[in-house]
């Protein structure tokens, strides 16, 4: 298995991994004097599940924020679909086909599940204000078309029963699922998941793993996820980047990473004498 070359290949379970979709080139991110990310490069290939792991404060979330366009890197470039990404606002990045979830749930608490997921499709809607004001022509047609797409996602995530419930009333695990639905609704090229399993019990974690695998398998969506639960990550992902103190200390298949001495040091601790 020639994981480190860029040729397409097929995984053991029959998923097709394509060429490089997104590439981080020498990313550095500073806040004033604090260096959150230091000269990190890695790539994400089409169709794969890519994990970024590391202890708390390693800079994983900052990395995801750079990928989703929320932070602009101090140095370095983000390449997407073979071109460097110019300076753009987060919503423009979203329109390129990058969707994400958040570590602390960032759902729209005042809206129903349905409306939350419908909002996820906003990048694909373009009827004008007048049409919408009169509920007429394109606006009405658009609403129906997108509702159908959203209903498919609702079926897929098995949340039909909470379709019209305000999300603020939902339990944590379901909220996480709705948030995944909102990101999926955009039909993204890359789906970024920020600690999708954080704070879940074992059953909820298993459910979430299944959904992530199914998304990747059925929709062929490329997924990049952050997690600090090593066990889950190793089972789930094709390749893993390991970060510690803002630096990359490992990159490769789960097996390679697991046997990397630096990674073992970072996770198990080692006496530096």
């Amino acid at each position: 298995m020639n994981v480190m070359s860029n040729d397409p290949y097929t995984t053991a379970d029959g998923r097709r991994i394509g060429g490089v979709l997104m590439e981080m080139k020498n990313i550095t991110l500073r806040f004033g004097g604090v260096v959150a990310i230091k000269d990190i490069s890695f790539d994400i290939r089409e169709g794969e599940i890519r994990a970024i792991i590391g202890p708390n404060g390693a800079g994983k979330s900052s990395m995801l924020n750079v990928m989703s366009g929320f932070y602009t890197p101090t140095e370095g470039e983000v390449w997407f679909e073979g071109c460097p990404r110019p300076q753009m606002r987060p919503y423009q990045v979203a329109r390129q086909g990058i969707a994400r979830t958040f570590q602390n749930i960032a759902l729209f608490q005042g809206m129903s599940t349905l409306d939350n997921i419908m909002t996820g499709r906003i990048t694909r809607m373009n009827s004008n204000l007048l049409n919408q004001a009169l509920w007429w022509g394109k606006a009405e047609a658009e609403e129906t078309v997108h509702r159908e797409a959203v209903e498919k996602i609702i079926d897929f995530l098995e949340i039909q029963h909470i379709r019209k419930t305000p999300v603020g009333r939902l339990p944590y695990g379901l909220q996480k699922r709705v948030e995944l639905g909102r990101a999926l609704a955009a039909e993204p090229r890359i789906l970024l998941l920020d600690e999708p399993m954080a704070g879940m019990n074992v059953e909820e974690k298993e459910d979430m793993c299944r959904f992530i695998l199914d998304v990747n398998d059925e929709f062929g969506t490329t997924i990049a996820l952050i997690e600090h639960d090593m066990g889950v990550v190793m089972d789930l992902s094709d390749r893993v980047v390991v970060m510690d103190y803002g630096k990359k200390i490992g990159d490769g298949t789960p097996d390679e990473v697991r046997s990397n001495p630096e990674v073992i040091d970072a996770y198990l601790g080692v006496s530096h004498d």
């Binding site: 924020n65 570590q103 602390n104 960032a106």
Partner: protein, 331 residues
């Protein structure tokens, strides 16, 4: 030095004095915002209410006389005695403390953990209520407030500066009241700073300002702190009410200075005491100078809006305010 320039300086000095009063009201806002995260719109009305109460007590007015007369057909107005100013001030301070307790007891207690916007709206309701209450209690006619503060032009300042310009320049006109106000404000700020830095309650107050939950968990009584801070804000309002009332009479427009304190807060930041003071001075000087230089060209009365537009423009370029730290957004 040309006379025109000297007049501009005079305008500036008077602006500084007006700014002191804005700062005083803004200070009350900042205290409450820091300790409870509440944007207290009623601060200005509290100043009005305090001034009304002070005048009423001093003159021996019967509270609610208007209402009692209407209900029972009587015709009562005054008790017939007058209180010395210092006693009346002390009693009014007491009333403001009672008011703080009532506000905590009947409003804040029920609104813990509500969104800031809800609390803000509640204080607007409070402002309306207090405005009505002040009028019903003491009547809505314009009252003069005299607690023995020096008034009139400071001859000393006038004489000292009269030699600066030509024969037509008679020296700076500075109201003694303004000087008194500036000194009082300075004393107030210093004592508040000492209180919050060196007393036990002050420490608790700063702890609450930093983190409610953490302060609660180490045993600080949130309710006590709220009463405390609203009392202090009430007394600051009383001071502002005395100064402003002595200057231009006790009337409804007094509560509008509260609105002027808002742009001050935007400049200085909602949580910074130095910010409130510097912001107040900038607004005071800025609006007087603008009215002096540009005002005549565009029809005057620019003081109505200048402060707000200045704050708006300033914030567009520096959203964190004068003394705020750069905001790093997180998700």
């Amino acid at each position: 030095m040309t006379d025109q320039f000297l007049y501009a300086i005079e305008v500036m000095i008077n602006g500084l004095m007006a700014g002191v009063l804005y700062s005083l009201v803004a200070l009350g806002f900042v205290l409450i915002f820091k300790a409870s995260g509440i944007f207290n719109y009623a601060q200005g009305v509290m100043a009005l209410f305090a001034a009304l109460t002070l005048v009423g007590l001093q003159k021996g007015q019967i509270p609610f006389a208007h209402l009692i007369n209407a209900m029972f057909g009587t015709d009562i107005h005054y008790f017939g005695w007058e209180l010395p100013a210092i006693l009346a001030i002390a009693l009014t301070a007491g009333v403001m403390v009672v008011l703080a307790i009532l506000i905590e007891r009947f409003i804040l207690k029920y609104l813990v953990n509500q969104e800031p916007i809800i609390l803000f709206m509640a204080t607007i309701g409070l402002a309306y209520f207090l405005e009505g209450l002040g009028d019903v209690m003491w009547g809505s006619d314009i009252k003069t407030l005299d607690v023995g503060l020096p008034q009139g032009a400071s001859l000393w300042a006038e004489q000292a500066t009269s030699g600066l310009g030509s024969e037509n320049f008679y020296g700076f006109f500075i109201d003694k009241l303004d000087i008194a106000a500036a000194l009082t404000a300075a004393a107030l700020v210093i004592s508040l700073t000492l209180f919050s830095q060196y007393s036990k309650q002050g420490r608790a107050l700063r702890a609450v300002a930093d983190d409610h939950q953490a302060a609660l968990s180490v045993g600080v009584s949130l309710r006590f702190i709220w009463v405390l801070v609203w009392s202090i804000a009430g007394i600051v309002a009383l001071v502002a009410g005395i100064m402003w009332g002595a200057k231009s009479g006790v009337q409804f427009s007094l509560s509008l200075i509260a609105l002027k304190a808002l742009p001050v807060l935007m400049l200085g930041g909602f949580t910074s005491i130095p910010g409130a003071i510097v912001g107040g001075l900038i607004i005071g000087v800025g609006e007087k100078l603008f009215e002096f230089t540009i005002g005549p060209m565009i029809g005057g009365a620019t003081e109505n809006w200048f402060a707000y537009v200045l704050a708006l423009v300033f914030l567009v370029f520096r959203p964190q305010g004068l003394f705020g730290e750069k905001i790093i957004e997180r998700v």
